[in-house]
Subunit: 349 residues, 2 copies
């Protein structure tokens, strides 16, 4: 078993005296790329990410001590990225590192929490040379410093499968301050914190399916901006919140489901980026275009519920009302007419 900084005996050449019969290890593929050994890699790549946090023990222990949060709640979230499943194969190590951190921070942002630390499991697949690992780690260091995070520990393993990186991220909230999914009530407004649909278009830009002359869409997909700036206004105003990762329709539906009510979403109210407006204008059906943007996912804006008396403060912070929570069936409307959002978008409505 391998925990930093204890590279597993499975990841080393066995001592010459070790009995044989480890043949199943053949599955793990090439194990020791050129460059520093696993200790060296931990020291070079990951120790700087602890930024001297005492509870990280310089990554020289099997465990870490969480920094004391005083009276605050500790909020914890966990998200994994698999290459070829959660993002297209062939992305640059730097972009994978940035996306990994940012999608996790987006979860904490929507909960009203202030991120402070993380642990990570890295399963390097074949093809992750030392140079690629180094590039990943350097970008992770830059991003973590920018977001004020310290690495507490983790595990690094090799796998014959694709790269997988899983993070456990910690944030702080005042007592009782975490914004749940389950706090929406009929009569609450349904709001979004910014443009919807750029994640879908960004993915298409990354895969070359649509033009992206300024590279703006691809950049939004690769480097989503967690809405940590909204933390305090969300804690004051939101009765329920989540980030938009699976698509506005699905994620708003999740809030409703957890809260025991339903949504009525009015597609013509969706805030769109200039790029999404251009794209929608080129589609045959405006309502199908809006529905695609509302079900695409990977936006990493916040979807939230709020009592109507918080509307002005939320709009001032850049949020847009796109519907309401109500009792009864979930509805997606376009200019007053109900749409069928299809199996994908509606399953969670």
């Amino acid at each position: 078993m391998s925990t930093w900084p204890a590279p597993s005996s499975r990841d080393r050449s066995p001592a010459s005296s070790t009995p044989p019969s480890m043949d199943w290890r053949g599955m793990s593929g090439p194990e020791t790329p050129e460059g520093p050994d696993e200790f060296g890699q931990i020291a070079e790549f990951f120790r700087p990410l602890t930024r001297g946090e005492p509870g990280a023990f310089d990554l020289l222990d099997d465990a870490a001590v969480l920094p004391d949060s005083g009276a605050d709640q500790v909020v914890v979230t966990q998200d994994a990225l698999v290459e070829g499943v959660h993002f297209p194969p062939g992305e640059a190590p730097e972009d994978i590192a940035a996306r990994f951190l940012r999608v996790n921070l987006s979860d904490l942002a929507a909960k009203g929490a202030e991120p402070f630390a993380w642990l990570q499991t890295l399963a390097w697949g074949p093809g992750w040379s030392v140079d690629r690992r180094r590039a990943f780690a350097r970008e992770l260091a830059r991003e973590a410093e920018a977001f004020g995070l310290v690495l507490l520990g983790g595990d690094t393993v090799s796998t014959p499968g694709p790269l997988m990186v899983s993070g456990t991220f910690f944030g702080r909230c005042p007592p009782g301050g975490m914004i749940p999914r389950s706090g929406a009530a009929p009569g609450d407004l349904l709001l979004v914190s910014g443009p919807v649909g750029d994640g879908l278009l960004g993915l298409q830009a990354v895969t070359g399916a649509i033009a992206d002359p300024k590279g703006r869409l691809a950049r939004k997909f690769r480097r989503p901006e967690p809405r940590l700036d909204l933390r305090e206004v969300l804690r004051r105003c939101a009765s329920a919140a989540a980030d938009i990762s699976d698509g506005l329709v699905a994620d708003a539906g999740q809030l409703a489901r957890a809260s025991g009510c339903s949504i009525r979403l009015e597609l013509e109210r969706l805030p769109l980026s200039p790029e999404a407006q251009d794209w929608a204008a080129r589609q045959a059906s405006p309502e199908a275009a809006l529905l695609a943007l509302a079900t695409g996912g990977d936006d990493y804006e916040v979807v939230l519920a709020a009592r109507p008396d918080h509307r002005a403060e939320l709009e001032e912070a850049g949020c847009t009302v796109v519907g309401v929570f109500h009792v009864g069936a979930a509805e997606v409307l376009h200019e007053g007419r109900p749409l069928d959002a299809g199996a994908g978008g509606w399953r969670h409505g």
Copy 2:
């Protein structure tokens, strides 16, 4: 992005209106095995594991709140298992679940911490049918209840690679109570909490390389017993500790390395199970046999450093003195003669 209970749009059939160009998703293999959908699987398989812990929000949120630990330190550890890398392919789902939990609890036990909660990322590979997932989850539930743990959340994804399960486990310690790796000093005794080498032999039994008529060795490999029973005596007596996952020589060497000193290990002192004694007696070279047992790993006993005045208390608790910490070169001796432990065993000495 997929966080319980928000199955990623990547894991669903896209709405009919979603633009195409998701062809890179083809890599993720068969995505929806027969049986309940991802929500249903979370509800059936994993919600019971929360055992009603309020901070888990019934796995209906993107995040969890850590249960309040009062003045205690929160100790956190993370270990990942990859099928075919950390254990042979073809193990039963129940055994994988038990091993996953137990190897992580072993880390906390060696730190003197009392486990209370965990999060997990499950990356199901091809071949993980609903029945196999169900079997995994049921055993996890049984084990978690036996160890008094609650599941706080996590992420579940699919991968074209082998099964990978990564856990973040939380334990409590009185303030300052976590036993570090780095507290050993020259003159400290080097002790182990129980038999050394059964992990190595257990692996060979599992792969059929050696006979195991009573199944005892295979059972030790599949269901290692985390030494949580030693928590309090370790906190009283140990100046440094770790669990034996990479082999006694490597893990003791890690304690020394983190503490700025070296070990002198006397192989003839190793406590051996009856099975290991039998095995060693059949080997051509007694010292090579002992060295193999001391470098094999997967024992999940505790290796520790302690001042000599704690010797009686530790021996009463079942620990055995196997050497000392000292200044100078690391040494592995057999009846007074120094051995060369080989590249594998020595790298960390």
